[in-house]
Amino acid sequence: MFDQLTDKLEATFKKLRGVGKLTEDNIKDGIRELKLSLLEADVNFKVVKELVEKVKERALGTEVAKSINPGQMFIKIFHEELVAMLGEGDHSLNLNVRPPAIILMAGLQGSGKTTTAGKLAFLLKNKMKKRVLLVPADVYRPAAIDQLKTLAAKIDVDVYPSEVGMDPVDIAVKSVEYGKNNVADVIIIDTAGRLQVDEEMMDEIENIKKAVEPSEILFVADAMTGQEAVNVAAEFHKRLSITGVVLTKMDGDARGGAALSINAATGAPLKFVGMGEKIDQFEVFHPERIAGRIVGLGDVLSLVEKATEKIDAEEAERLRKKMGKNEFDLEDFLAQMKMLKNMGPMENMLEMIPGMGKAMKQMEGKVNFEKELSKIEAMIFSMTKEERRRPEILNASRRRRIANGSGTKVQDINQFMKQYLEMKKMMKSINKLGLGGLMKKFKGLGNLVK
């Protein structure tokens, strides 16, 4: 998202080392950087002005703790503002009504309502063990009904048999009956995309709302949306009183400033983010995490959550022990890579790691991670068991053989080994500290921030 913001702010504030207090004068440049970064991230102009004003107000007169620099202080304040802003409200899905709970999806064309409906159904079914009914109510876009039916079949969820000639309000009303008869816990109504300036279509969705009284009205918005996010969201909110927001296509490289704009315009909490084209690439929104990502602290918690979901705990434990004894060989490296592959696209994960956002930007479009992973895999596969366990025995002729076997060059092998050794060295130094020591170090550092 706002990857470079932290770097920019740090650079701006570097001049200010040793400043004891933040003043109008010494934060001027920082404020400007913040403003431009937010604008470049597509946060609405007015929202930027307000947010920057708030940060400025809080920053002024703040004593800078001796141990940190003014830039970090400023970033901390900004981070807290973001968390406060994004964190307001209930981010969970309200299903505490007499079943079936009804969820209505609304948004512009192409924002990803249908895909989101499918993902949401999948999440409710798999994680919350709900019986879901999907209702296609987009009778306008060609094959929109088919699209939802196909998705429903794929995830084995019940779908209301809508047809093109039907009236959307009618579909919604009847689907509720249908849902009751089929003991559905949750009914998700997918609607056609509509522009907020289209009176007729806005009336239609208002009528659907009145007819079925959903417990959740989710406004689905594209993370790439620009300045108009404010007006679009405000109008949908005025008509429907939306209860939550879903931000889609967050796996792209858009800065996602729309999240802030929509929040400012509606006050409705962000509930989910779409992270990819696959049905399970859908995450519950965590304000602290996104705020952390915005100011460049990374999103380690999401990463860990993903890891615990996809990785075999025993395997992780085994690898950890090996690491502890500094016995991490290429076999383990291979296992580790396999684990990573299961966790989804590399790019997504990297962005969650603190400080990686910047590096990712430079990599953009230059590296095909999947391809490189398989290249390294090929190298390791071309080694004998003995070589994998004791890579130090790799002499020139062995390396040549491996290069031939894996379709790589000897230089590639050399570099790989060099990096592998560096990696071991690093692990050793970490082991010396021990996990406890590592955590202590964190704590020590944490005190500096407070």
């Binding site: 920019k8 650079a11 604008l39 991230a41 597509d42 609405n44 102009f45 007015k46 512009l108 064309q109 192409g110 060609p142 094959a143 699209q147 300036v197 594209d222 790439m224 949306t225 620009g226 300045q227 108009e228 679009v232 796996d251 792209g252 490289d253 800065r255 084209e277 460049g296 602290l297 380690v300 860990v304 615990t308 990785i311 992780a316 690898l319 950890r320 490296f333 580790q336 696209p345 790691i353 400080g355 990686m356 910047k358 430079q362 990599m363 953009e364 479009g365 590296v367 095909n368 991670f369 490189e372 992973l373 390294i376 570099q415 996990l435 590592l438 964190f442 550092l445 944490g446 921030v449």
Partner: protein, 422 residues
């Protein structure tokens, strides 16, 4: 770690980026794993952030071993000087020569000289006017004073203008470029309207320079490859384009190259039925390149005038998907020399600055020849197109202005510029 990675980057060893990353991920998992359950129980809220801050600091300390030299910010600052746009000559277009008559720089739309004394010649753009109300509060008197002081461009006006430009999605680079021009020519402006006209003219120049009408069908079939991110409106646009060609008496063939999204093939087939034209398709999940290849061959054998190849929406940062697109493009070229003759990127007018990245990255992957902007009938202004035109020189061929099949119109720079300020 990061320094390490950056070094590998510099040495061109991109390939080995993967090794440190694998380790880093492992490290993080190992470090945070045991704490996870505890953390869940305790609901630490505030603590999590602090932990993150700590983790970040720890990593940073590790990554950059306290090396104090002020590292160069790896990114150009989005400050006042934005070298984003290549300006061939330092200031080639000093827009308003310091000559007494500023009128010459505002052809067409420029008001006549008497405008400075006339109280209020009503101009079309309503918003800027109300926006400028403030600066004109005193009406005639203040304008008179302004005239003497030659200082119409005050901070209020700058702020109002910036707001208009930014909220039209022009982005920092374009807005800074325009505002710099305004500042350089401050003394030329006699009223807020002058500034507005000046801005309009500058923007118009950019769009006119890259302007190209929708291409003629020179080959039989002329092959159009449609690309863009998810939800931009590629399939719908193809349906509308087919209608347009049929109205011109041409024979179009459609290729259902989006084999990924559920029911995308059906969607295109419906458009085929509506237009009564052939749709070449394969089953869901089929190789889109082979669909495209077959489509070219069958369009040739059918003697079609134009082939419109649909593709799955893809976010430009997904390397694999972009490679797939490159393959589709290459395979089309194998089926017919010189094809695709036009590669059109479809851009949603609601998009913000990411549209520029889209245009850039897609252009790097395949040779994009033009843009079709969709959903311009909403409230979004599509100001990012100016940056795209300026930086990439891509022409906007058509704009989508509604859901009806005929709602696809030629792009008119004048109309577009006027709408920006409405």
């Amino acid at each position: 770690m990061q320094a390490w990675i950056e070094e590998s980057l510099k040495n061109g060893e991109l390939f080995f980026y993967i090794v440190p990353v694998v380790l880093l991920v492992l490290l993080l998992i190992v470090i945070f794993w045991p704490d996870k359950k505890k953390a869940k129980k305790e609901e630490p809220e505030e603590d999590e952030i602090d932990k993150l801050i700590k983790a970040d600091k720890k990593l940073k300390a590790e990554i950059e071993p306290v090396d104090e030299k002020p590292e160069e910010p790896p990114f150009k600052e989005v400050g006042s000087e934005i070298p984003l746009f290549e300006e061939p000559k330092p200031e080639p277009e000093t827009p308003v020569e310091p000559e007494p008559e500023p009128i010459e720089t505002f052809p067409e739309t420029s008001p006549k000289p008497e405008q400075s004394t006339e109280p209020e010649p009503e101009k079309p753009a309503a918003t800027i006017k109300s926006g400028l109300e403030k600066t004109r509060k005193g009406g005639f008197m203040s304008r008179l004073i302004g005239l003497f002081r030659n200082n119409v461009v005050d901070d209020d006006l700058i702020e109002e203008l910036e707001e208009i430009l930014y909220t039209a999605d022009m982005g920092v680079a374009t807005v800074s470029w325009l505002m710099d021009l305004v500042n350089k020519n401050r003394s030329q402006f006699k009223s807020g309207d002058d500034v507005k006209l000046f801005l309009k003219e500058k923007i118009r120049e950019v769009l006119v320079q890259t302007y190209k009408p929708f291409p003629e069908l020179t080959e039989k079939p002329t092959v159009f490859l449609m690309v863009g991110v998810n939800g931009a409106g590629k399939t719908t646009t193809i349906g509308k384009l087919a209608h347009k060609f049929i109205a011109q008496g041409k024979v179009p063939v459609l290729a259902a190259g989006d084999t990924f999204r559920a029911a995308a093939v059906e969607q295109l087939k419906v458009w085929g039925e509506r237009n009564n034209c052939t749709v070449i398709s394969d089953k869901d999940g089929a190789d889109p390149a082979s669909v495209a290849f077959n489509a070219v061959n069958s369009a040739v054998s059918k003697g079609a005038d134009v082939l419109l190849v649909d593709t799955a929406g893809r976010l430009q940062n997904r390397v694999n998907l972009m490679e797939e697109l490159i393959k589709i493009n290459r395979v089309i070229g194998k089926a017919k020399e010189g094809a695709p003759h036009e590669t059109i990127i479809v851009i949603d007018a609601n998009n913000g600055q990411n549209a520029l990245t889209q245009a850039k990255q897609f252009s790097e992957a395949v040779k994009v020849t033009g843009i079709i902007v969709t959903k311009l009938d909403g409230s979004a202004k599509g100001g990012v197109l100016i940056g795209i035109a300026k930086e990439l020189g891509l022409p906007v061929y058509l704009v989508g202005v509604g859901e009806k099949i005929e709602d696809l119109r030629p792009f008119d720079p004048n109309e577009f510029v006027d709408a920006l300020f409405e």
